[in-house]
């Protein structure tokens, strides 16, 4: 999985990493049991401080997304945590999406269209992975 960071981004770097990994898990590009690079390797690959990656991993682990097995490495958890009911993050993202749709002169239909497109992308990514695994 390819990660990238933008030091001038709105989110701090460890949050950018957390977001990309949770998105990859949600989208199926990362699946339960998949191995993540060690925090040191990822730090060198992204050219950021090892502690920053460690912080992202620690938070993901505390959130139940990944788990560290001593001496073996870090893996995507078997059971991905369910968001709490009344999840404000989801609502914020929805508000953001709808605002963007309204700003570009559209509305609900455009927002739903965008959601469908993203879902299709995620399903395709999952499908491609399935095929690769069958071949190998």
């Amino acid at each position: 999985m390819q990660l990238f960071v933008n030091p001038a981004g709105e989110l701090s770097i460890y949050r950018q990493i957390m977001r990309q990994i949770t998105e990859a898990i949600a989208g199926g590009r990362l699946q339960p049991g998949d191995k993540l690079p060690s925090h040191r390797d990822l730090a060198e690959q992204l050219v950021i401080a090892p502690l920053t990656v460690k912080k992202a991993y620690d938070e993901l682990e505390a959130g139940g997304y990944i788990e560290t097995q001593r001496g073996r490495g870090t893996f995507v958890s078997g059971t991905v945590p369910q968001p709490a009911p009344g999840n404000t993050g989801l609502r914020d993202a929805a508000r953001n999406l709808l605002s963007l749709a309204l700003l570009s002169g559209g509305g609900m239909p455009e927002a739903i269209h965008a959601l469908n497109e993203v879902q299709k992308e995620m399903l395709e990514a999952r499908g491609e992975r399935g095929q690769q695994e069958k071949k190998s």
Binding site: A8, E10, S12, V47, I48, A49
Partner: protein, 296 residues
């Protein structure tokens, strides 16, 4: 955490009645990374030179590994690696001659690490210093600062004058070293993107004092910038909770506050009666400009 570097109330000036440093205090622990930020003339290099024992503070105390850098220079310098902002290397020497000289000074010099770094940077040991590019000369200076395996690395503007690719290579090498050695690093820089990459703690100097001393992630998440039209500037901003700085700008005023953007914006709206206040978390570069900009 063991303290390896401590500044206590450092005062230093070059001219009478004008102090560059006016009571600077902070400490660094073992393995910690601290980015020293500030405008040109904020006193970053002066502070670094005091830590190296190259300058005396006029008052206050500095200790490195619990020792005074001016009283115990050999003991202190043997455990520090230092690359100066305007590091001058002898132009007629070859890289090999220069590293051999450093090896003779430092009993802990590691020839294997030296060879590895020379290879990694793609340098040729027989090249003369004067034939090197600016980036290569910086790499040689870094090798000289690193191969005695210092516990504290002090880099004054390590990327000054380097092109973006050379800067990235320098950063890559630093991060690999961090990974392996866990060396504490104090570095000054004007490249906020580099500071965000290296992370750690940020100490912002302004007008001879420490204006901020905070974990970078904490700073990025708990401090926000508010933009408001000038009509709202009638009440005293300084009295609002979480206030850090404000300045007038073309489009009104900009303020830096501690707190969640939504809370801060609500607070400003309620106490100033201003409607169109925008609050957002911002990258370090913007924060730097808002904290120390517009006053010179």
């Amino acid at each position: 955490m063991n303290t390896i570097l401590q500044f206590e109330n450092i005062v230093r000036g070059y001219k009478k009645e004008e102090n560059v440093l006016n009571g600077v205090s902070f400490r660094m622990g073992q393995g910690e990374i601290v980015g020293l930020l500030g405008r040109n003339g904020a006193g970053k290099t002066t502070l670094i030179r005091i830590a190296m024992g190259l300058l005396y503070p006029q008052s206050g105390r500095v200790s490195v590994f619990g020792l005074s850098p001016t009283q115990d220079p050999v003991a202190v310098k043997g455990r520090i690696g230092y690359v100066a902002e305007d590091q001058v290397l002898p132009p007629a020497a070859t890289i090999r001659e220069l590293t051999a000289f450093h090896a003779s000074l430092f009993p802990k010099w590691d020839p294997a690490l030296e060879r590895e770094l020379v290879d990694r940077f793609g340098l040729r040991a027989d090249d003369k210093i004067k034939s090197l590019s600016k980036g290569q000369a910086r790499q040689v200076a870094l090798i000289c600062a690193l191969c005695h395996r210092p516990e504290l690395l002090i880099l004054d503007e390590p990327a000054g004058g380097l092109d973006p690719a050379a800067r990235r290579e320098f950063l890559e090498a630093s991060i690999q070293l961090l990974n392996r050695e866990g060396t504490a690093i104090l570095f000054s820089s004007h490249h906020m993107g580099d500071v965000e990459r290296i992370g750690g703690r940020v100490v912002l100097l302004d007008q001879g004092r420490v204006l901020l001393d905070e974990d970078l992630d904490h700073l990025r998440e708990n401090v926000c910038v508010a933009l408001a039209p000038s009509a709202a500037a009638n009440t005293r901003l300084e009295t609002l909770p979480g206030y850090l700085r404000s300045r007038n700008a073309q489009d009104g005023w900009h303020g830096v506050f501690r707190g969640e953007p939504d809370d801060v914006s609500l607070r400003i709206r309620q106490s100033l009666g201003a409607n169109n206040v925008q609050c957002a978390r911002v990258p370090l570069e913007e924060l730097f400009v808002e904290m120390v900009g517009g006053r010179q």
